[in-house]
């Protein structure tokens, strides 16, 4: 028996889950896909006294297109379901492209979108992509509902703005504008390992391929997904040339202030971060060019 003993609830109705959270708040841990929590419990790095298993809340396992062209995704939706979803592939190509980067398919078969967001691992793909997409998170407690934008949700290592009595129930993504350039890429020692460093970016281009606006989010480099504001600023109004891409790499490397750990040094992450942003931008522009000529 690996995990330490705990009390266990598996509510079948959302209201029941919220009642339990209201009552047990701090001591309770929510079990969704379990792909991060269960390892921690098996190693007894986490010893929650009480588990609220939300896997039977099937009302949270949904992918819906909104009339405005966005997506509403239930928090319990498996990462594998998002990866296979036709609606996601059609409406939000960057979300679809990010899914295969998450762990291995056996992990994605269990892992949920909500679980990954609330776990907020700084090297995880979904927090970064949700920030890039301007996602909003619906947080429910027994007595209240609030909507928190991704930009205000991620606070630090494994720490978000969610309160003890709240449950993330829904992820709202605004309409993805067609014609925008995008890319999501990461560097990992082996496929499926945690990213040493990763980037998700998008760029609005005019007819002359001048960048009107760019958003760059990096992950695995800070305590939370990181907007690269200096690099974004220099992209504005620019056309891509070899010299400019070199300049961009330098700006990104300078802007990054990563930590060293057993997987990679800070110097490596800075250097590779610069290269990765450059590569991602190049591939984003090449892809958008291809779709424009077709």
């Amino acid at each position: 028996m690996k995990p330490a003993p705990f009390e266990y609830f598996a509510p079948v109705e959302l209201q029941e889950a919220l009642d339990l959270l209201e009552r047990y708040g701090d001591e309770a841990k929510i079990l969704a896909g379990g792909q991060s929590l269960m390892p921690l419990m098996n190693l007894r790095l986490a010893r929650p006294g009480l588990i609220i298993d939300i896997n039977r809340l099937s009302s949270l396992d949904t992918i819906t297109a909104t009339p405005e062209g966005g997506l509403t995704i239930g928090a319990l939706t498996r990462q594998r379901a998002l990866e296979r979803s036709k609606i996601v592939q059609e409406q939000n190509p960057i979300l679809a492209a990010a899914m295969p980067l998450i762990g291995h398919f056996q992990i994605r078969n269990r892992g949920t979108i909500g679980g990954s967001l609330v776990h907020a691992d700084p090297a995880a793909e979904l927090p970064a992509v949700s920030l890039l997409l301007g996602a909003e998170f619906l947080l429910r407690s027994k007595s209240a509902v609030r909507v928190v934008p991704a930009a205000e949700f991620f606070l630090s290592y494994l720490t978000t703005a969610i309160r003890p009595a709240e449950l993330l129930t829904e992820i709202r993504l605004p309409k993805w504008p067609s014609g925008e350039a995008w890319a999501v890429q990461e560097i990992a020692r082996r496929k499926g390992d945690f990213a040493l460093i990763g980037v998700a970016l998008r760029a609005e281009l005019d007819a002359e391929e001048t960048i009107q606006k760019a958003v760059i989010v990096m992950f695995g480099v800070d305590s939370k997904p990181l907007r690269m504001e200096r690099a974004e600023a220099i992209l504005k109004g620019r056309r891509i040339s070899e010299a400019f891409l070199r300049e961009l790499s330098g700006v990104v490397a300078e802007e990054l202030q990563p930590d060293s750990d057993i997987h990679a040094s800070a110097a490596y992450r800075k250097e590779v971060g610069g290269v990765l942003v450059r590569r991602a931008l190049e591939s984003a522009l090449a892809n958008v060019k291809e779709t424009r000529t077709h």
């Binding site: 690996k2 379990g34 269960m38 056996q106 269990r110 082996r190």
Partner: protein, 158 residues
């Protein structure tokens, strides 16, 4: 009390909530074909199919499998007749100590069901969540590709 169907047979058992699904299979049902390596979801040795999907049984609780249909490595052979994947592993020398093999076999089952004719690159990616420490991956990849090229091997055991 939970009720699960494993390899077509239904079991009802009273389990402690903290028992993992992998321990449940091994200790309660004596299905010791499912192996436990890292016990924190990294090595893939404990991979089984839950409601048709490959998952790591060491990071799922037994109580979470209540009502589910599971397939373990014991579902593959029919008596003395090996499953085509098992035969291919033998043909290609895709195992030495055999510890990781149950996980590789169940992962390969899920792969070939979704993608009956994978490329070598797709096979490599599919098994990237399974760790083998003695045989090496090339023979394992060859074995899976051998089955994918045998027409009768694709659907058996699913």
């Amino acid at each position: 009390m939970i009720k699960v169907t494993v390899n077509g047979r239904t079991y009802e058992r009273l389990v402690e909530v903290r028992m993992t699904l992998a321990d449940f299979l091994r200790q309660e049902l004596d299905l010791t074909g499912t192996h436990l390596g890292c016990e924190h979801g990294v090595c893939g040795a404990c991979t089984i199919l839950v409601s048709g999907e490959a998952v790591r049984s060491c990071i799922m609780l037994a109580v979470q499998a209540d009502g589910a249909e599971l397939l373990t490595v014991e579902s593959l052979a029919e008596g003395d007749e090996l499953h085509p994947l098992q035969r291919a592993f033998q043909d290609q020398h895709a195992l030495q100590c055999g510890f990781c093999t149950p996980g590789f076999l169940m992962t390969a089952c899920a792969l070939l069901r979704d993608n009956p004719a994978p490329t070598r690159a797709e096979v490599r990616e599919a098994i990237s969540g399974n760790i083998c420490r003695c045989t090496g991956y090339q023979p394992i990849i060859n074995a899976i590709l051998q089955v994918s090229s045998e027409p009768e091997g694709k659907t058996k055991g699913e």
